[in-house]
Amino acid sequence: MKNRANKLIISTFVVLGASISNATELSILVDNSPDTVALTQALTSAYSKLNPDITFEIELRPGGGEGDNIVKTRLATGEMADVFLYNSGSLLQALRPSRTLEPINDLANFSNILSSFTSTVSDDKGNVYAVPIQTAMGGGIFYNKRVYEELGLKVPKTWQEFMENCAIIAEKSKSAPIAQTYRDTWTSQLLVLSDFFNVQAEKPNFATDYTNNKANFATTPAALRGFEKLQQVSEAGYFNDYYGAATYNDGLNMVATGKAAHYPMLTFAIPSIKLNTPDYIEDVGFFAQPGDDADKNGLTVWMPAGYYIPKESDQKEEAKAFLNYIATVDACDAITKAIGANGPYLIKGCTLPDNVYPAVKDMLPYFQEEGRTAPALEFLSPIKGPMLEQLTVEVGSGIRNAQSAAELYDQDVAKQARQLNLPNW
């Protein structure tokens, strides 16, 4: 790094202290969620065991938009750590990867990384910038298996069936049919975002047309459906009491304990459920957000975050050697040991233990059958409007209807596209 003294001042968390003479210390910046920290600690200490002359200094940053700004600012000022964790997909493009990041195509284990991941962390010249540290995730609906069992319900294959299940839950049990948690506004987007498998099933070219300003949410009925579904469940009164003040963790606790029967969420929540309510993790199941046709039932998939190396790092070789290790089966096993296996890995040869949690088990069949997964829109298009979470809060709270929210979202998308300097906007 440019400024060693500065780095010492900035760093707050030194996990592996005591630098040995002629040892190299790599700094690594990750977000402060408990899972990320746990698995970064596991990976760095496993690597240091193999390479005793490499030590790590783990720095933490907040997640969400605030974290994005820290990453952008540190990259722009040349103060980035030697390795940092960041999202794949649309958020990456705002970092100007070809200008600020080091390509990793020349890693010895590069071919171990599945192309479904590399395609979401590359630029238009084919340079790839990240190695994934977690598993692929599904966006869909967590459900409480005990509530389903007591009421004799079946996992729905169509939206119609889902609504019927909700009606039965509302009538015959004390559980809220659906948990919503708008104190953490980002959680309100899931019913729209997880519907993308269904959008693509009906309109296979939607992502391309959307990027090229030829299709939008308000005028494409298939894309509007996500907003409509949210409006429909809100109007039916299926949400928990005071959902406006509930948090993400409230939502996980509700679906785990059965206070709510469903919680639309990404499967990255599984380690948190395990952490918050270990006694209930076996009660939590998962299914894809159903569409209108039972024959086209599949899962919207999110790619995990990965480790990146900034161009400015003066320890690129050491950092690359570390990333090369991340792309191995050993590294996957270290992750599984640290936080459990939460979905299919994106490194060739990595396997899951037999005793995965039910929610993970429910998710795997989608990946095993051809044509039952589709990437979320943010991995197919660089444009995601930043206002979506406020708009979905409005639809879910009954302040605005689906059509109007979709129209405003289209305006928001246009603004983002212009900021990214995309052609046709």
């Binding site: 200008r99 005071y242 406006g244 900021q419």
Partner: protein, 286 residues
């Protein structure tokens, strides 16, 4: 006097340098960046397009209206309550100095901390406030999640937090009023109420000017308390200009959010400069 300058140049230099580097340069730079497309890595001059885009923001009107409501409401409440509390706390109560310390206490606490704490206190089901109200048989409202109420709930907390400072300024102001006036009034048989409105209120005017101006500027650019409590929500219902700007910044629209800041600067100046002018003129009239 020979020269209007009281200090040699070398004496002004350190202050001048700090002013130049930390205030003048960033201000000029902000005007420049507001005219560019800026992604932190490079800038491209685009003229007034950011201003055009910002003024077309769908929730800008909500934001401006909320900003003015919030600023005016908290400013009026702080000065009225501040004066009443100052009168109370200068009336020779038992433990007066302890009570004065107590009312200033919220001013010292971190705004973000207050916001997070009150978000819990105002939780509609498990919050202390509604549980307290339920003992009196009152069903408390959904303070922060009712779109029609959220802004006012935040304003309430802001008033509680800021009233201590207003009180302090008023206490200082009251101390400057000579007791001769009250004595003379008492001899003339004025009532307490007459004394308050005819002596205290007019003579405490300099303090009122300070309190109103400070709290209005503070209220108009208020951000931290709103962000900590509602993030401008539910939806956009408690958005103010500052939170609209912050969201642009968070989304990576750096040029656009800089343009928004310049507009906020213009709005505050547009309201506060005439107000100060008006206050000062009235003072001369007295």
């Amino acid at each position: 006097m020979k020269s209007s300058r009281s200090y040699p140049y070398w004496f002004i230099l350190p202050g001048g340098l700090v002013y130049l580097v930390l205030f003048l340069v960033p201000t000029v730079a902000a005007f420049w960046f507001s005219l560019t497309h800026w992604d932190l890595f490079e800038t491209r001059f685009i003229g007034l397009e950011n201003y055009y885009q910002f003024l077309r923001e769908p929730f800008l009107i909500t934001g401006v209206v909320n900003t003015v409501i919030f600023g005016v409401l908290t400013s009026i409440a702080k000065s009225v309550l501040g004066l009443l509390l100052a009168v109370l706390l200068t009336s020779g109560l038992l433990g007066q100095s302890f009570l004065r310390t107590l009312i200033f206490f919220p001013v010292l606490v971190s705004t973000i901390g207050v916001g997070i704490a009150f978000a819990e206190i105002m939780h509609p089901a498990r919050g202390m406030l509604n549980i307290g109200l339920s003992y009196f048989g009152i069903q408390g409202p959904a303070w922060l999640i009712d779109p029609n109420l959220a802004l006012f709930s935040v304003a309430l907390v802001d008033i509680w937090k800021g009233v201590g400072l207003a009180t302090l300024i008023y206490i200082a102001g009251l101390a400057t009023i000579s007791s001769d006036y009250y004595e003379a009034a008492r001899i003339d048989g004025a009532t307490k109420l007459q004394m308050f409105f005819r002596i205290t209120v007019p003579l405490v005017r300099p303090a009122t000017v300070t309190v109103v101006t400070l709290s209005l500027i503070g209220g108009l650019r208020s951000f931290d308390i709103i962000w900590a409590m509602t993030k401008g929500g539910p939806g956009f219902s408690s958005d103010v200009l500052a939170s609209v700007i912050y969201k642009q910044y968070q989304a990576g629209f750096y040029g656009l959010s800089t343009a928004g800041n310049i507009i906020l600067f213009a709005l505050v100046a547009f309201i506060v400069i005439p107000l100060t002018y008006w206050f000062n003129r009235r003072e001369v009239d007295l």
